[in-house]
Symmetry: C2
Amino acid sequence: MTRPPSITRIRPCQQRAVVLLSGGMDSTTLLWWVTRHLRVPEVHALSFRYGQKHARELTAARWQARSAGVAVHKVVDISFFAGLTTGGGVALTDGAVAVPALRAIRAAQRDQPSTYVPNRNMILLALAAAYAESHGIADMYYGAQSQDEYGYWDCTGDFVERLNDVLALNRRKAVRVHAPFVGLRKAAEVRIGLQLGVEYGHTWTCYRGGKHPCRVCPACVERRKAFVEIGMRDPLG
Amino acid sequence: MTRPPSITRIRPCQQRAVVLLSGGMDSTTLLWWVTRHLRVPEVHALSFRYGQKHARELTAARWQARSAGVAVHKVVDISFFAGLTTGGGVALTDGAVAVPALRAIRAAQRDQPSTYVPNRNMILLALAAAYAESHGIADMYYGAQSQDEYGYWDCTGDFVERLNDVLALNRRKAVRVHAPFVGLRKAAEVRIGLQLGVEYGHTWTCYRGGKHPCRVCPACVERRKAFVEIGMRDPLG
């Protein structure tokens, strides 16, 4: 099996872990990697309703959590968040802003695409760390990966490392974020997932959330490329 | 006027700033310091309902925001947070846990007192940073101060500095947290506040939130000591 590089040393024999589970490919692969490869017996999966335009991701997250047999799956409603960032032109939460095609993002050469949600990942990780800390769980898994096609600053190894530097100050119980796929391209990640038996037909990637994937948004394009690269067919077509 | 040391350089001529305003002494003093001493013309104050047992703090926050003439005061409801940390024995949010007296905390010599809310401050700062970023505001003020009597790890200069190291990675718009009182004792802070005309009768400090301050919880003890130290009378008695 391809061995994903890890930017943080993973403690041996973890008994419990928190996994951030969006229902997309990255976090789903991670969930199965933690339950099947690391064999952590007690996994707490956390999903967030943050004002996404559609809830297909969450349906996928529920399916995967049940299928992987996690101990706890909690969907936390932080949809107030959309109101907090209103006016920022955030495509994933603001009804007035359309999700752009990847080519439009590239053409605009923006610092961050409009699919970027301001500081969302730090918020989700901070909430998950609060959950982990109050439940006495030391390890937390985050499905960031390196295919930085459209440049999210909060999906990088640097980001995870510096966040761990903050959390390490906690004198009570330092929670550590692990991002084992952060050095991996999406194709390599899918290869790992398929070896673990992940059913990608029950993940949701498209930013638009129609009946079928739109095939043009950044997430769809990357997903298709990953399957093509390893010569496999995406079960979502 | 006593000049508070700052752990972060404050940009000159700020036009806009976000202030985290709980309605306690620290953040209220900070609000007046930002509006009256720094003279930032457009202040956005953010308060959070995070499942506190009482809402007296928020009433104080509203009074102070109005009185200081901020441009925006937003109270963000994150009371789901109490459910996320349930079982962690958090005195400020869990109805089953009593707020301890300071002497009990000292006697127990715990790593963090039960009045500590797991990772709350990182969550509030991450949310405030999302707000600031999406509104194009670069500077954020946090009323942490150094009187580390009962040891909150997330009220220290190190914490703020490392959090800024994370935020600095943002390629779109790096928001910076300023904690000008982090090196200050509470008495010095109150002295500054009184010079700025802060009405401490409209702040709320007691963790218990009865009709009158309880005078025995850690927050009450520190508040009283601060006023005694500078030879002033606390308007709350």
